[in-house]
Symmetry: C2
Subunit: 521 residues, 2 copies
């Protein structure tokens, strides 16, 4: 995710006791040395970049590279980690430095496309391309940055007419705080779901580091929207409860102005909440805590973080007008999905109701009768507001904003918020699939909520079909991990202006494992 | 220097006892922290790149740089060393890495010209330009490579729309094995010579590291042609005898096939002689040893290295034909100077005689009568050969090769070899200055020998005038150190196809201090 709004007069409100608990939970990373499996040649095919030739990795030491020559190394799967290799000169003693360009890509397009032409909306600094001078040869090159990649291209910008180089002993120290050996492999389901699960697991694994990251290529940060889905998938796979707990304490301990939970956190060089605030993301602190408690029954954490969670509901309610409806605005105040034209009002209203209900259950568990009552009142008010102001009975859809926009995500969130009963919710979902409003879903994050809504409203077959036509299509398109963005109808799309900047291992896309393991075994 | 010939079936012949003596003499480098003095703006002037604006370095911390913006930092003088600086983000917390391009230049053209258009004959890997990604901000960037530079430009390739960067605490740890505090400054001579001496000293200092390097930017290697002149300048300035001794032992201990002293040595990753052999450079081992003994009267070194020195004379004599003349060939067998059309035969013959005479004196010092006699015989034979076959009495010049080429450098070396007496030598020099043959001198290395020849033949006024019109002109052109290549008539020339690859602090250009301090005080 990459957003450029900032809250005014931003400051961080630190609760050191909570931060200390988070710091104590910092995981050790599991390191695995991974060797590449082959060499590939990438060329433009009829539709897209293709691998047109494969060679054994054993060939690498037979290839000497001079000025302008390159080799593309395939690690066989996606990894997040640290790369090293040996450079051996051949010919005369090296009489000039070796100057290399190294590109690392999660996908072929990142290797094959000319990154100098990138002119997208987010920083080109995310492109995994380095230029290195190696003064002394032979040498071992240990690249200091962590990369997310499957392919690594090494190109000789220049050596000298007197020598060439040979590359040997290419290694990746892959890192993650997820232990894949703890997850039982699936067997008794169809092969395509087994594959989908495997890719989901890999996606989640490569996003689990010191915190749950949104993507190991980009933004490499703890976003609460991603955290919520990662934690849910984690409960059915790696069961790394401490990492969820750590992230919850971090968000609670590092708040923004007025005690608002920020949309994302930075871990280095020091713990820091970003100045981005999003209406839905702050509310999702309640969801994350609710889900965590439901999974672990950990009352200590619930007691520690209840105040912060409840406060998010209070802050969100400040935006509710006299009719019980969340006020709309033109700025980047709520996320929901990456659709350019999406109006956020209805989705925000639904998420408010959804999280108020979770908060009410937490109040009940804690025996906090006063707040439970208050929340109940607000749930009624906002539910009434939603039905009176946003529900268009004639269309059978919720509308959003001044233009009364009908979007997929608005319907999905109102279904999840259970404003109506299962019958009406089912009708809304059927209607949605039939009518297919123009303002559709553009991210796996949004698709996740569609699948969840279908399953919870007795439409498992439709959910499965939808998973197959979305994540399944990504698998057919060669995904090693699930991608940040995917539109089966427009596979080269990017909201950022170029797909080479997209993240191809993205936390919010990892939930097929959650669905398969929770609902389809 | 940069040459691409290699000897066939190259192998290294190691004399470990001599190498061990060299290793024991490895100097500690003197480190000086240098701070930049200002910020400069470089623009294209009428003739060349110019500094059009200067600001105090104190302004640096007031400048925040966003995408595409840059700042050029002036260190006030040439340095060879290691650069570090602090990067501080301003604005929102950095939500993307900072991607920087850093150019370091000894001169303005290296900063101002687009290095991507470089298409010269030697490796572009020598261009001091780096691209860095800084993931964590704030941060201290300590660049691991050693650079030779006065100017450093830092350009932001990209940050993100949410933040910019401020650069602070820019430092250079300048390194050298020369101790400037041991050299007495000059006072009682004219200002232009004082300045010329100062620049020569800086040139020599910045070329003195673990060995005498040819240039700290390029090739950063021990070439024997450079060593000979550096050692001579060193005797009148830093008097670092151990460094000369170390280099002599290295050349003697790391020979090529047949015990030939190589043209240059590599120090890292291990001690290694290059596979380049040059007729004149191998013979200059004798000169280096002779000069060292004359300066130090160190008989131990002379005894240790006499065999190797004498052997170079023997190898060189293998190329002498029955007429006592060195056989010519078309390959890159002898250096002399960087003139494309230069025929090397006459110069090689003169250098053979010059070094045979030095070898004879060394044999005499060592009481090696047999070799002294043998050398005397060879001197007579080659001198006779030179006069009979190469001297054109009518023109008053020595000719070279099949085409009987008359070049400046051939005359100069025959004068230095004292084939004729001072009277005739004087006439040759006068004739040379008057006639000015087309195949002229193109490097300070060649000019050095002209100056030496003039001085030794009672033409000190002409020598001084020549120093002023050559090195003096470089000073006027803004040299901080003396350049590898300089043609006052064509200031943008480079034998490599682009002046951005030239070395602007070059060992063989440092000899004005030698001349001034030896002959003009």
């Amino acid at each position: 995710m990459s957003i450029t709004n900032s809250i005014k007069d931003f400051k961080m409100e630190v609760n050191q006791a909570l931060v200390d608990k988070a710091v104590a939970l910092e995981p050790s990373l599991i390191k695995n040395t991974v060797k590449p499996i082959g060499l590939v040649t990438i060329e433009k095919g009829k539709e897209d970049w293709e691998i047109t030739e494969r060679k054994s990795i054993d060939e690498l030491s037979n290839i000497s590279l001079g000025k302008g020559q390159s080799v593309c190394i395939d690690f066989g799967d996606h990894h997040a980690g640290y790369v090293s290799f040996k450079l051996k000169p051949v010919g005369s003693p090296p009489d000039a430095p070796a100057h290399l360009r190294i590109k690392l890509g999660e996908t072929l397009c990142e290797i094959a496309e000319d990154s100098s032409t990138y002119n997208g909306s987010i920083s080109s600094s995310w492109i995994q391309e380095e230029f290195l001078h190696i003064d002394i040869l032979p040498n071992t090159v240990s690249m200091p940055r962590r990369y997310a990649f499957r392919y690594m291209e090494i190109k000789v910008v220049d050596t000298s007419p007197k020598y060439e180089i040979v590359i040997e002993d290419v290694n990746c120290i892959a890192v993650s705080s997820a232990d894949m050996s703890t997850v039982s492999p699936l067997t008794k389901i169809s092969d395509d779901l087994i594959k989908m699960d495997k890719i989901s697991l890999k996606t989640l694994q490569d996003c689990m580091h010191s915190v749950f990251e949104d993507g190991p290529k980009r933004d490499r940060r703890l976003w609460i929207g991603d955290l919520r889905l990662q934690a849910q998938a984690n409960y059915y796979t790696f069961k790394n409860y401490d990492l969820v707990k750590r992230c919850l304490y971090l968000f609670a301990g590092l708040a923004q102005n007025e005690g608002r939970v920020g949309a994302c956190l930075f871990i280095e060089p020091k713990l820091l909440v970003d100045d981005t605030a999003l209406y839905d993301y702050s509310l999702f602190f309640i969801s994350c805590l609710y889900d965590y408690y439901e999974e672990t029954k950990d009352l200590t954490v619930l007691n520690d973080l209840w105040e912060v969670a409840y406060h998010q509901a209070q802050l969100a309610l400040n935006r509710v007008d006299e009719n019980g409806v969340v006020r709309d605005s033109d700025d980047w105040w709520c996320f929901l999905d990456w659709h350019d034209e999406l109006n956020k009002q209805a989705g925000a209203q639904a998420i408010l109701i959804y999280t108020l209900k979770q908060a009410k259950k937490l109040a009940s568990i804690l025996g906090d009768a006063e707040r439970k009552e208050k929340l109940e009142k607000e749930i009624k008010k906002t539910t009434k507001g939603a039905i009176n102001q946003l529900w268009d009975k004639e269309q059978g859809f919720f509308v959003s904003g001044n233009q009364k926009q009908v979007s997929w995500i608005s319907q999905i969130w109102f279904v999840l918020a259970e404003v109506f009963d299962t019958d009406i919710n089912g009708q809304i979902l059927d209607n949605l699939l039939k009518v297919s409003p123009r303002v559709d879903l553009v991210t796996p994050y949004a698709y996740h909520h569609l699948i969840e809504a279908l399953i919870l409203n007795n439409r498992k077959a439709e959910a499965l079909s939808c998973m197959r036509s979305y994540w399944g299509e990504m698998v057919k398109d060669g995904a090693d991990c699930f991608w940040e963005l995917y539109d089966p109808k427009n596979k080269y799309a990017s909201p950022y202006g170029s797909r080479i900047i997209n993240s191809y291992c993205h936390a919010w896309s990892c939930t097929p494992s959650y669905f398969i393991r929770k609902y389809f075994l």
